[in-house]
């Protein structure tokens, strides 16, 4: 890849494929973000990744990508499609970027679309973490759903919450309860601001109950993930535990930044090139019936050819040569 006009832009790519959103960033060696993209996965992670790659190409022209890191629940898929030099879990990736940004960080609160995490850091290394993937009551999807039900956009949620003088007390143990409790409060005549603020409190309380029980949330605390966009939640957390929550500028893409930071010393990247955005890629799946495990095997196809397979517990499909 040589560029006609002088020095080509060099960088490291971080890919975070989550179930709700797909994030791609390009950073330089020092970790500054040169370019980023944040889009909905919409159940089609390949499409999301390909469209991110084509806008990267459109925005920057030729780029010399020296390393690729993949994270998120779809990290394996991202690896198979783009060719990653490191495939890292989200917890480590989030910790890496937060520590890079603020070396003395001690607590990371991360709330994304579908899950939430708490990571404790001491002296620059992770010492404890917890993660909630089962309960939706503390995540972005829940907030979004409730905002829609109240007839306000997710972006407005925060300003509504901040205008409340006395937040309504909403039961936040689970999505179903919270929803019926909110309806009840509405019917009792609480105003929208108080209900929204109450919702933010419920989410914060729910997070603290589920993830932080018995843990020492000491400052500095970094708050990242898509939900950090909402100043109502930040305020609710600060009210609840009486400590400042710092929101980094790149809060929604911190996982991707972490993945990119981890590949800065790559020698020969496995990256397949931005042209993967032009391939006709699609996934298919089947159930293997060769043994009682009946594994769901996932395949990525390029036109008619299978380029990757996984999901089998025994590895017989993953290792098959085409």
């Amino acid at each position: 890849m040589t560029s006609l006009k002088g020095e080509e832009l060099k960088g490291y790519l971080g890919i975070d494929v989550g179930s709700v959103t797909t994030k791609v960033v390009l950073i330089d060696y020092d970790g500054s973000v040169l370019w980023n993209s944040y889009r909905r996965t919409m159940g089609q992670p390949i499409r999301a990744l390909q469209s991110a790659f084509s806008s990267l190409k459109k925005d920057l022209g030729g780029v010399d990508i020296r390393g690729v890191g993949a994270t998120g629940s779809g990290r394996k898929l991202a690896d198979h499609i783009a060719g990653a030099d490191r495939v890292k879990n989200e917890i480590t990736a989030h910790a890496v970027s937060a520590i890079h940004l603020l070396p003395n960080v001690r607590t990371i609160v991360e709330i994304g679309g579908q899950d939430s995490k708490l990571i404790l850091i001491r002296n620059g290394v992770v010492t404890d973490f917890s993660m909630n993937t089962v309960c939706a009551a503390g995540t972005g999807s829940f907030l979004e759903h409730q905002a829609a039900r109240l007839g306000i956009s997710i972006g407005e949620l925060g300003s509504y919450a901040l205008r409340s003088a006395s937040p309504a007390r909403i039961a936040g143990r689970c999505t179903v309860f919270a929803e019926s409790d909110m309806i009840h409060k509405q019917q009792m005549g609480h105003n929208l601001e108080d209900i929204v603020a109450g919702l933010c409190d419920a989410l914060a309380r729910n997070y603290l109950n589920n993830l932080a029980r018995g843990k020492d949330l000491s400052s500095p605390i970094i708050f990242q993930g898509g939900v950090a966009a909402n100043p109502g939640i930040k305020a609710a957390f600060e009210r609840e535990i009486n400590k400042e929550f710092i929101i980094p500028g790149h809060y929604p893409i911190m996982g991707a930044i972490g993945a990119a930071l981890l590949v800065r010393d790559t020698k020969d990247t496995r990256f397949k090139g931005l042209s993967v955005s032009e391939q006709r890629l699609y996934t298919s799946s089947f159930y293997c019936s060769d043994c009682p495990n009946t594994c769901g095997v996932i395949e990525i196809n390029d036109s008619e050819k299978v380029i990757a397979r996984w999901g089998d517990s025994c590895g017989k499909w993953a290792n098959m040569e085409e």
């Binding site: 629940s73 879990n89 992770v126 973490f129 993937t133 495990n293 009946t294």
Partner: protein, 304 residues
């Protein structure tokens, strides 16, 4: 003559007594059929059959009963109440034969002898054998002789060879054997760890280790397996070669939440990384994989 077949579900106490039970029953002249390893399908069947509030391992047990019931003449589901004088089995295990009867119609006959050391220590085995003999119309003395002869055989699982290494990261695994060694329920932790370059370690604590752990923990644990889990945890926290500990438990298990609490409060869990993985039928494999990977990273102190 066609063999008479006795089915043993591959779940719960199977992971402790399988070998003893198998040789015992075979010696009595029967063919033993065990259900296959747990799969998604077996668990699904078990969930379908369950009524009320059952924990994951018991639901799984029901799935194994389902997979066996039409191909055997008897089901061997002994009622283990206590195997030592100062502790009981979990209430869900005590009531297992009743749960199975309540959840199924058209079952083969269940062989459900009671094993209860707390009731009459010296006659436990005699009584157990007498009940087996009655159901199968055999001579009680012969049954007793065979049971005693075979009772030494434990469950030999392939993982038991997992022991300490000098080089790698050693991760101590604690949990009930029917979760840890059931590759489906236990999310194949042994393999996952090995693939991540860590070495999984499992121990079956000795009498002495259990007694020692119980002196550290002021509250005596009344559940047999809970005692073992606590004692392994104690041994791992003391052992400098163990770099981190993972406790795998069932999300809706009463005894596990009790032992989990004890471990957190009474043992020095701050001296090394410790993580509880609680599994239920909704636990996603990716979620578990992510936690285990992050745990290994944490021990290895991955930094930029």
């Amino acid at each position: 003559m066609k063999n008479i077949r006795v089915g043993i579900p591959r779940a719960l106490l199977y992971y402790r007594y399988a070998d003893a039970w198998k040789t015992f029953i075979e010696e009595l002249g029967y063919e033993v059929i065990t259900s296959p390893e747990t799969t998604a399908g077996i668990l699904k069947d078990g969930i379908k059959k369950s009524v009320g509030d059952l924990c994951l391992p018991v639901k799984t047990f029901l799935g194994h009963v389902e997979s066996l019931k039409d191909s055997v003449d008897f089901l061997f589901i002994p009622r283990y109440i206590s195997v030592e004088h100062d502790a009981y089995m979990c209430p869900k295990i005590l009531g297992l034969p009743d749960v199975v009867r309540a959840c199924f119609t058209n079952l083969p006959r269940i062989i459900d002898p009671m094993f209860n050391i707390k009731k009459d220590k010296d006659n436990t085995i005699t009584e157990f054998s007498r009940q087996v003999a009655r159901i199968l119309s055999l001579e009680p003395e012969a049954v007793e002789k065979s049971f005693i002869k075979n009772s030494g055989a434990g469950y030999m699982n392939e993982q038991e060879e997992y022991s300490l290494t000098d080089k790698k990261i050693n991760v101590g695994l604690i949990g009930r054997p029917y979760l840890l060694f059931d590759r489906y329920l236990g999310k194949n932790l042994f393999r996952t760890l090995s693939e991540l370059g860590a070495n999984p370690v499992y121990i079956q604590p000795s009498e002495n280790e259990i007694t020692e752990a119980m002196t550290v923990i002021p509250k005596w644990v009344y559940w047999s397996m809970g005692k073992e889990v606590t004692a392994s945890a104690h041994a791992f926290f003391k052992d400098d070669k163990i770099d981190g500990i993972i406790n795998i438990c069932s999300a809706t298990c009463g005894p596990d939440s009790f032992t989990g609490d004890l471990i957190r409060k009474r043992l020095n869990t701050r001296n090394k990384p410790y993580m509880t993985l609680s599994v239920d039928e909704h636990a996603s494999d990716t979620g578990i994989q992510t936690r285990v990977e992050a745990f290994v990273d944490m021990i290895g102190k991955v930094i930029v």
